[in-house]
Amino acid sequence: MASAQETALSAERQDIRNRWLLSAPALIIILLAAIGPLFIVLIYSFLAAGPYGDVEWKFSTDGWISVFLQRDIFDDTLSFADAHLAIFWRSVKLSIGTTLLTIVFGFPTAYFIATRPERTREMWLFLITIPFWTNLLIRTFAILQIIRNEGIINTLLIKAGFINQPIQILFTDTAIMIGMVYVYLPLMVLPLYASMEKLDFRLVEAGYDLYASRFAVLRRIIFPLVKPGVIAGSILVFIPSLGAYVTPSLLGGGKNMMLGNLIELQFGQGRNWPLGSAISITLMAIVMIALLAYVRNAGSSEVRHG
């Protein structure tokens, strides 16, 4: 009797051990590839900048101070680092804008796919993923060709006689946003589709039956039910938008930097690795805070609705 129990217990222990063993590769990768470098970045942010890049191994808070403040070269007084703050603000603004726009465009797209006959849905999903086949750089160049002054849009508008002068889109915040919406749209469509596919369309009919107009059905029934998809999609779009590098550097030009470009600048021409590290950590903090606020907000409103 006792031995049977023991066997069962040891079998269970064995089972748990096996499970840990199975997840070991993933855990090692997470430790080495994600948490490790992060730790290095954190340490670097508290070191002094070396003259030709790299760091000097002595403790310094200069990196962190110059994230938010700048020292006047003549009298050493500190003032707010307006340029940095502007970039923070632009990054947050453009990322929120991108997220909202991908919802606006992604929602009908996902709805369209989810309401196709089952056979054809796969084809539509396949089409959505085609852009992933091409390198991000090339896709961004393609957008550049479309929106530049001699690009397709301006040429067509001028030919059609709507405008005389090309509209300056390239190297503006608008250009960055167009690029990011284009690049990140699939990341919104896929989770949205996943939750819409599960949507019981009989509930939509029940809504119509109970005198809800199309808009009311969308707002009161469909939207609350696919909210998990909206949340997932928003997270997937917002995070890479905030740290976007290629799109703003190509479409925004030198003046319209985002955080990714600012960080790159510090590790490159700026030769200020501690500052770059500190900005990176700050970026992560913004992401974390935004996520927490968003998820908590979304979660509680769901409780209120239901």
Partner: protein
């Protein structure tokens, strides 16, 4: 006018699919449903009951024909403008809302004032006896309770017509019986026209004012439960509802709804036939098992045969008789306290009919 029509379905057809795969879920259906009646669509699965309800609710549009609501063609109205509500087979309660919010939904969409909505929701909860569960999530209540919420939700906006698509089919037997009575009570108390769908003939017979029997996209017969049971017009109806004996006979004479037919035994008996038909020649007769008796063969016997099986069922006994012409015939006889009816297997018996029990089928 008491016999005002709430719904009139005129020559409605509904085709699904295209090309060779095209088929008619509804095939030229016409039926009128009177105000305040409990009307049932009865038929086997796949015969087009749900399709007809969906056309009335507006979720689908007829390929052909017209549907009138109190004389008005409702084709131009989208579902959210039709004063018709549905109790869905799956209930389709909104999972992100409480019981109370579900019931309030239709009223909110109609833009009713808050106070009125609250009062009405309370009234509905009371009507379906769910007052205590107002703030529960719909996933936290039982199937029977969900059923009541679905009913309350559909009744709350006081529709002109309530459509119920097999609302009881997911409930267990006892609960179903309870809900049948409950539904009758609700229909009586609200005075709303009910169009009720079921594939359960017993349910249809006990609940309905009138029944339409459907098969393969067609309505075969419309009538009171009594009509449908005792005066089936066609073989499908007779077969689908209750147990039935079919007999061959020749028409001797027929007029004014009364006919005389000659059975294969040579015996002549009176029979009724569906209005609008004029039976002649060889016909099929229907006689319900409880409308015949077994007795010792004698001159008044309609048929003679021998007993193949006796099934004792407590309240009554079934005699499975093989008639001399080879036709099987079942007699259901009520049992009395003093032993059973006294006939045993293999015994020769005569079949006796009560007054006016035979109906001639159309086909």
């Amino acid at each position: 006018m008491p016999d005002k029509n709430a719904i009139e379905v005129r020559d409605v057809s509904k085709l699904f699919g295209t090309g060779d795969a095209q088929f008619a879920a509804l095939d030229n259906v016409s039926v009128s449903i009177r105000e305040n009646e409990f009307f049932t669509l009865l038929g086997p699965s796949g015969c087009g009951k749900t399709t007809l309800l969906r056309l009335i609710a507006g979720f689908d549009y007829p390929t052909d024909g017209q549907i009138l609501l109190y004389g008005q063609d409702i084709a131009p109205l989208p579902p959210f403008k039709r004063p018709v509500n549905t109790v869905f087979q799956s209930y389709a309660l909104f999972p992100h809302m409480t019981v109370g919010q579900n019931i309030a939904f239709g009223l909110e969409m109609l833009g009713k004032p808050k106070a009125e909505i609250e009062a009405r929701v309370a009234e509905m909860l009371k009507l379906v006896r769910m007052e205590a569960l107002k703030d529960r999530k719909t996933s936290q209540i039982s199937g029977g309770q969900q059923q009541r919420v679905a009913l309350a939700r559909a009744l709350a906006p006081q529709p002109k017509v309530l459509l119920l698509d097999e609302p009881l089919s997911a409930l267990d037997y006892k609960l179903r019986k309870e809900m049948q009575i409950e539904l009758k009570r609700l229909q009586h108390e609200t005075g709303i026209t009910f169009i009720f769908v079921t594939h359960d003939q017993e349910e249809a017979l006990t609940m309905s004012d009138r029944i339409a029997v459907m098969s393969a996209g067609k309505i075969l017969q419309v009538g009171s439960p009594w009509d449908i049971y005792d005066r089936p017009a066609v073989r499908f109806v007779a077969d689908f509802i209750g147990e039935t004996n079919f007999l061959h006979a020749d028409v001797v004479s027929a007029n004014d709804g009364r006919a005389t037919v000659r059975l294969s035994s040579g015996k002549e008996i009176p029979a009724t036939f569906p209005s609008g038909s004029s039976p002649q020649g060889k016909v099929t007769l229907v006689v319900r098992p409880e409308h015949a008796r077994v007795a010792a063969p004698n001159g008044t016997s309609a048929h003679v045969g021998h007993i193949e099986n006796v099934v004792y069922l407590g309240t009554d006994t079934h005699f499975h008789v093989r008639l001399d012409d080879g036709t099987p015939f079942i007699v259901r006889q009520q049992n009395s306290r003093n032993g059973h009816n006294g006939f045993a297997k293999a015994e020769r018996v005569g079949i006796e009919f009560g007054q006016d029990v035979a109906q001639i089928l159309k086909d």
